[in-house]
């Protein structure tokens, strides 16, 4: 039997069959899984850790955990969702032990009001469509800078909820905070993010 049978990315394997092979410990199925999802997992880990080195470590740890626990996978979600969740948990743990970067204070980024509690921020003028704005190179830089300027507690909620698409309840579980804290943080994070994106709109 050739061990290389599944290492070719162009050949897909039905998930059911893949799981069976993984459970029986076939090395070629491990290699297949790493080749198939490694890149996507790396991209996500990179977003949380903001470091190539840490992201690589997280992906490595994720695969080790996945292979060691594959027999516990209950198929309530896809294999990908299960792996992504493991990766994010590992990335969050990695973050806890790291020095934080150039974060701003959330209180400087919240909405502003006058003495009558009326909004005082400058309105955005949409002189270009969102698609046009997104396609510009400097937009990528501004968005990335905005994400990493958010204080970590807020950044994580924004990434998990708005980028990864987890529910408020799932975010609360992953960050070990209450649902109401998760909602409050999300709102502040979005408001701060909006303010940090103002350079995109010429504000």
């Amino acid at each position: 039997m050739s061990d290389n049978k599944w290492t070719n990315n162009s050949e897909d394997i039905p998930e059911e069959e893949l799981i069976t092979r993984l459970c029986s410990g076939e090395e070629s199925s491990y290699i297949f899984l790493m080749r198939k999802y490694g890149r996507r997992l790396y991209a996500i880990a990179r977003r949380y850790t903001n470091s190539d080195e840490d992201a690589k470590d997280c992906v490595q740890q994720t695969y080790i955990q996945v292979f060691n626990n594959i027999h516990k996978f209950e198929k309530r979600s896809s294999l990908w969702s299960w792996m992504r969740r493991i990766l994010i948990n590992i990335s969050l743990k990695t973050l806890q032990s790291k020095h934080r970067g150039q974060e701003l204070s959330i209180s400087d980024l919240l909405p502003e009001y006058d003495s009558n509690n009326c909004r005082t921020e400058t309105n955005w003028q949409f002189t270009e469509s969102i698609d046009v704005i997104i396609s510009k190179k400097e937009s990528t830089e501004i968005v990335q800078k905005a994400i990493y300027s958010l204080p970590q507690d807020y950044r994580l909620v924004l990434l998990l909820r708005d980028i990864e698409g987890y529910s408020t309840e799932e975010v609360a579980t992953m960050l070990e905070i209450s649902v109401s804290a998760s909602k409050t943080r999300l709102h502040r994070a979005r408001a701060a993010f909006k303010k940090l994106l103002e350079p995109l709109m010429g504000v």
Binding site: I44, R47, N68, N117, R119, I134
Partner: protein
């Protein structure tokens, strides 16, 4: 009538379409009357949209294939564990 600051706390529920019934009328009335909050909500939603679109773009641009080194390290680790259990 809600002021802008009071209105602020309902923005996420408004976006999700999950406003509690007892406040939805107040929220709509404020939006009807307040151009600044209408504009704010558009900007707020656009930021989320732009953040998501740009992160998706960055994900798709990750250039490297999985490093062979990573594959080797993972396989070695798994084998070690397996042999310890034998």
């Amino acid at each position: 009538m809600l002021n802008c600051k009071e209105f602020e706390q309902f923005i996420d529920d408004y976006i999700d379409g999950s406003l509690p019934e007892n406040v939805s009328r107040k929220v709509y009335l404020h939006l009807l009357a307040c151009g600044d909050c209408r504009s704010y909500i558009t900007a707020y939603q656009s930021s989320i949209e732009m953040g998501k679109a740009i992160c998706d773009k960055l994900d798709s641009e990750v250039p490297e294939d999985v490093p062979e080194e990573l594959i080797t390290l993972v396989l070695e680790n798994i084998k070690q564990k397996g042999s310890k259990e034998d």
